[in-house]
């Protein structure tokens, strides 16, 4: 009798969320750009063939923006537009992947620390304190140099540096929920700890966590671009915005477009995820605003 109705209600709730989200123009711009990014990842080859992003063409080196090459070409004559489009894949993948991994590791640790408290909480949080006391860029650099450059190690490095932040967020979200009486009620009804966490704690903590995750994507896009800029991340010839910036340094005077376009891509994608996160926060919790 009720499962169908529940599904319907869930849809209504999403609709309500969307209605509130839509009212925020900045958040809509953020969402639009994120959708463009996703389109670049999914349909990159349709927008600009991967060949043009990696294929060298010495005759067309360092050309400015034109009808043939919207964003011009680089020192090997590769189409910058195609490289920016395909670079989205690496950046977005890095941002999303690392956030997801950090979120799941941090989420479990944070939930355990917050729910059980006591000694487990102490151990986990002191470990996180140690991790946070090392600057995250330095930590990532150290990990990458120990493991070697490459996209997989980059993910590992960034994830580790990001885990403490998620542990803290999830822990505090959980702490604010375990205090509430419905958790006590669940215990009084004989509900097991696992079921309480899965069914009562996490669904109520999801809002702030989603917001933080969205914000984190933008941060990690920046961090990944930073590491690639330092040559620790994506290896050539694969296009990546940070690496493109690094390559462009030498030609800054003759071909400024080599910096401008990937730079803008980084800034815009980071900004749009932030705007989206802000919008989501306001839409999820209308009480916070005003």
């Amino acid at each position: 009798m009720s499962r169908q109705g529940t599904k319907l209600k869930k849809q209504n709730r999403l609709k309500e969320l969307w209605r509130r989200y839509r009212k925020n123009p900045a958040a809509m711009i953020g969402l639009a750009f994120v959708l463009i990014l996703i389109a670049c990842v999914l349909f990159g080859d349709v927008i600009a063939p991967y060949k043009t992003a990696t294929g060298q063409n010495i005759r067309a080196r360092l050309q400015g923006p034109s009808a043939a090459h919207f964003f011009g070409t680089d020192e090997f004559g590769r189409d910058v537009f195609a490289r920016v489009v395909h670079g989205a894949r690496a950046s977005l993948a890095l941002g999303v992947m690392t956030t997801l991994v950090a979120l799941s590791v941090g989420g479990v640790l944070g939930a355990v620390a917050g729910y059980f408290g006591g000694r487990i909480d102490d151990i986990i949080m002191r470990l996180m304190d140690v991790l946070t006391s090392i600057p995250s860029l330095l930590l990532s650099l150290a990990i990458v140099s120990a493991l070697g450059a490459g996209i997989r190690n980059l993910i590992i490095a960034i994830t580790i540096s990001r885990v403490p932040a998620f542990v803290r967020i999830v822990r505090s979200a959980v702490l604010s929920i375990v205090d509430q009486e419905f958790i006590e009620a669940a215990k009084a009804g004989g509900t097991s700890d696992t079921r309480i966490i899965v069914r009562h704690v996490i669904p109520n903590a999801v809002g702030p966590i989603i917001v933080q995750a969205t914000m984190s994507i933008s941060m990690l896009i920046l961090q990944a671009a930073g590491l690639s800029f330092l040559g620790m991340g994506v290896q050539p010839p694969r296009p990546e915005w940070g690496a493109m910036l690094n390559d462009a340094r030498e030609f800054m005077r003759v071909a400024p477009h080599l910096m401008i376009f990937p730079g803008m891509a980084i800034v815009l994608s980071a900004l749009s995820f932030n705007l989206m996160g802000d919008g989501l926060r306001d839409a999820l919790d209308p009480k916070l605003k005003s």
Partner: protein, 326 residues
């Protein structure tokens, strides 16, 4: 407790023996519940009344073992439950439930009405099929007066009174014998309060429920209880059948509490002489003797020398006060 309905030698459904619950704080030991002896007979209501910080909520939760006790004993049907292991305690929880004060924080905002009510039955596998659980949920909603169209409603769509009905249905879902009602009507509007009180009393008649009704509201507690225990700073200072407590209060604190009730009548107005001075003292490492001594007009040296014994004044009336000595 004695009463007309009770046979001699009947085992109380709930009994606490010198029950203590201390909390460790940075400033010392907080004596939340400090040696409470209570008996509740099957089918009866014990009202526990006192002001904030007197330990009445902690007492309820300690009896249900939602928080571990410090010392003493809790007995259900004569059997000590404080030593029960995890699985045995889970079995026990079916018989002992709780209704909370806050209709907002006591139900999960992400679950629908039917999900909240059916949750305990699913967890405890009370019924073999989903169908039976759904039927039983519908039945419970009907019992507590929730319209069936609310099955799929989320709590935020409902007012406090209906949320409280959800809490009651959830507590009933496992067919318990004993329910701790922790200020179940304090957060509600007066007209809704009366509806819920009536519902609780009807349910008690139909199902022979045993209540421990915790509240700070004396008129409510008088209305619903057979017996009343007055608590002050972790101690039970007076215990008597409801009518007796109001007609013949013995402890100075009980007298002050009754005098402080603002009554909705023209002739009943707070008289200055009835208002007790001062505020509740700290429950952290309290000195020996009567906890109320600092605010009491009848305080004698004997009051602060030693802890007060609970004296039997006959007819189920007990009081812990030196005034009643010899």
């Amino acid at each position: 407790m004695t009463g007309p309905r009770i046979r001699k030698n009947e085992v109380p459904l709930i009994e606490t023996v010198d029950l203590k619950k201390y909390f460790k704080t940075s400033r010392g030991m907080l004596h939340a519940v400090d040696g409470v002896d209570l008996k509740i007979m099957r089918g009866r209501t014990l009202g526990v009344v006192g002001e904030s910080g007197c330990g009445k909520s902690t007492l309820g939760r300690t009896i249900l073992r939602l928080i571990p006790h410090t010392s003493g004993d809790v007995r259900y049907g004569g059997e000590s439950i404080v030593g029960y292991g995890k699985s045995k305690m889970r079995e026990m929880r079916r018989h002992m439930q709780i209704i909370f004060q806050d209709p907002y924080s006591s139900i999960n905002p992400r679950m629908t009405v039917s999900q909240i009510i059916s949750e305990f039955m699913i967890v405890n596998r009370t019924y073999p099929t989903r169908r039976e659980i759904d039927d039983r949920t519908a039945e419970l909603m009907d019992t507590v007066g929730l319209a069936s169209r609310l099955t799929d409603a989320y709590p935020h769509e409902l007012d406090g009174g209906r949320r409280q009905r959800i809490g009651i249905a959830r507590a009933l879902s496992l067919d318990p014998s004993f329910i701790v009602c922790d200020e179940p009507v304090s957060a509600l509007d007066v007209s809704i309060q009366a509806q819920i009180l009536n519902l609780l009393m009807d349910l008690q008649d139909e199902r022979e429920l045993t209540y421990m009704f915790i509240t700070h509201n004396l008129s409510v507690v008088k209305h619903i209880s057979d017996d009343i225990a007055v608590m002050y700073l972790g101690k039970c200072v007076e215990l008597a059948p409801s009518k007796e407590l109001f007609s013949n209060p013995l402890h100075p604190y009980t007298k002050a509490l009754i005098a402080a009730i603002p009554e909705p009548r023209l002739d009943a107005c707070l008289r200055d002489s009835d208002i007790i001075r001062g505020e509740v003292t700290s429950p952290i490492d309290p000195p020996a003797g009567c906890r109320f001594a600092a605010r009491c007009d009848y305080c004698t040296p004997a009051c602060t020398e030693r802890d007060q014994e609970f004296r039997d004044m006959g007819d189920g009336h007990f009081v812990a006060c030196t005034l009643m000595d010899g």
